[in-house]
């Protein structure tokens, strides 16, 4: 045990990076979200540019949760995330199933092709999408989100499918089940926990959607993340940006928690 204890010190650099790069920023967002808005002009402009120090207020949350504009943005963000997630899961399942049924060489080819876009810059990708899809709008944004999420969904679902022994399907067929029956009664239920894991990842990432909506959307397709960027980097209202962040993280926590508990119940 003493030797094991000594090994624990090796996690110190990662812990330090985590405190500095994850915990501290999140705590700071929490504190920022309850500051009042800074003065963008006047005598105290430079000390209070981003927020008013030493203030405590819930105004930012009231503003986010009562202004129709922010509520609409929040509703759109959730709608976009659900649409993208459902499409990603359907397409991802089809590709993952093809991986499952391919020869070893076929599996490698498919997996390399699927992950290829992940090794390229997202900007290269969006640039190409822009050329194909033309004018911005809702469906180009959905297309961008689905294409960004697809590789992760395929890898997660394929891993779940690989764990289903094909002999079970053969046994079902031998006992008189049709191919479709064998799939829906055997393969699909067994792959469901992995599919829900993919859904969790997809919904969490698409709730944070920023690049797709910003580059391929009209203002009507702007998400919470786009609004956070605007408040943070253009309007310099860090307090409101932080409140938007807290609301977004709250929605993500609810989605992540409920999907994880569904998966636990199934597994």
């Amino acid at each position: 045990m003493t030797e094991a204890r000594r090994y624990r010190w090796l996690t110190a650099p990662a812990a330090a990076l985590w405190m500095l790069g994850v915990a501290l920023p999140l705590l700071l967002i929490l504190r920022l979200s309850v500051y009042s808005r800074g003065e963008i002009s006047g005598a105290r402009q430079f000390e209070t540019l981003f927020y008013q120090p030493e203030t405590w207020t819930l105004d930012n949350f009231v503003q986010v949760l009562t202004t129709p504009f922010y509520l609409n943005t929040l509703a759109f963000t959730i709608g976009l995330a659900v649409t993208s997630t459902v499409l990603t899961l359907v397409l991802g399942y089809v590709v993952a199933y093809a991986v499952y049924r391919s020869s070893p060489a076929g599996k490698v080819v498919l997996l390399v092709l699927v992950t290829l876009p992940k090794f390229t810059n997202i900007l290269v990708f969006v640039y190409g999408l822009k050329m194909i899809l033309g004018p911005s709008g809702f469906w180009p944004v959905v297309a961008a989100e689905v294409l960004m999420l697809l590789p992760y969904a395929v890898l997660t679902i394929a891993a779940a499918l690989e764990a289903v022994p094909f002999s079970l399907v053969e046994a079902a067929r031998g006992l008189g089940a049709s191919a479709a029956q064998a799939f829906w009664k055997v393969t699909f239920p067994l792959s469901l926990p992995g599919t829900i894991a993919a859904a969790t990842l997809a919904i969490l990432w698409s709730l944070g959607a920023f690049l797709g909506p910003y580059l391929l959307g009209q203002p009507a397709q702007y998400t919470i993340s786009v609004e956070i960027d605007r408040q943070m980097n253009h309007d310099l209202n860090w307090a409101l940006a932080a409140a938007l962040n807290v609301v977004l993280l709250g929605v993500m926590a609810i989605c992540g928690y409920s999907l994880t508990s569904i998966r636990r119940r199934l597994a």
Partner: protein
């Protein structure tokens, strides 16, 4: 079913192929090159100080990110697997959390942190931010690699008189070489391609390639942007080839 799968995968690769093809167009507009292909847009990008500085920044930040992330992730992988932790899954989830958090949230929090330190506007601040995302990725590669090393080999070295440090250095670490290469490649790819952290934290002097492509992408679109994107792809390509080789080589 299989045909449909290849159709989906093929369609997902079209944007990539198109944007690369357009970078060779002789036209001033975004058109596919016909019979004539040219490298003029690449020459223009490489002759323009705005782009070359971004390219240099990309190299510096990617190198710093690798120097921070890979050793940190290696130490964490060894420490977590051998520390005899009672709540290991919890610590591991915490370590991987940056991968699930929205990039904009991490970026805006980090901006507030970095603005309060003298690091603001330095390559190091950008590299530290990239490391927050790259370390979990490197950790996943290194954990998998560490799990594949037979622990009896290190025990044998200890039995023959090696200190714990020597046994790790001369037995386990060389056996982890593929994992270390993969972790380095992934880290470089993450850093080269990171957009959101770069947008929030880079200044005009430290901005990497994606940060300079960004405003061009929204406003003035010329094949120069395609060429800059093409360069970024070219830089990531060795990593891609390495990963593919590993996938195929394992068979």
């Amino acid at each position: 079913m299989k045909r449909l799968a290849y159709l989906i995968v093929g369609a997902s690769l079209i944007p990539l192929a198109l944007s690369l093809l357009v970078s060779f167009t002789p036209s001033r507009f975004l058109e596919l090159p016909g019979d004539e292909w040219t490298l003029q847009w690449y020459r223009q990008v490489l002759a323009n100080p705005v782009w070359t500085r971004a390219l240099l920044n990309s190299f510096v930040v990617a190198a710093l990110t690798t120097l921070i992330s890979v050793p940190t992730a290696l130490a964490a992988a060894v420490g977590l697997s051998r520390g005899g932790w009672r709540r290991k899954p919890l610590w591991e989830t915490a370590l991987l959390a940056p991968l699930a958090l929205p990039a904009v949230a991490i970026a805006s929090g980090l901006l507030a942190v970095v603005r309060a330190t003298p690091l603001w506007g330095s390559h190091l601040s950008l590299a530290l931010a990239h490391s927050v995302i790259a370390t979990p990725v490197a950790y996943l590669a290194l954990r998998a690699s560490l799990e594949r090393v037979n622990p009896h080999l290190e025990a044998a070295a200890r039995g023959l008189g090696a200190s714990p440090r020597q046994a790790f250095r001369y037995v386990t670490l060389p056996l982890m070489a593929p994992g270390l290469i993969a972790a380095t490649l992934f880290t470089v790819v993450v850093s080269l391609n990171e957009v959101i952290l770069t947008l929030f934290l880079a200044t005009r002097d430290t901005s990497t390639l994606p940060g300079v492509i960004w405003p061009n992408l929204r406003f003035a679109i010329s094949p120069q942007v395609a060429a800059a994107s093409g360069l970024l792809f070219l830089l990531s390509a060795p990593a891609l080839a390495g990963a593919a080789w590993r996938l195929i080589g394992r068979r």
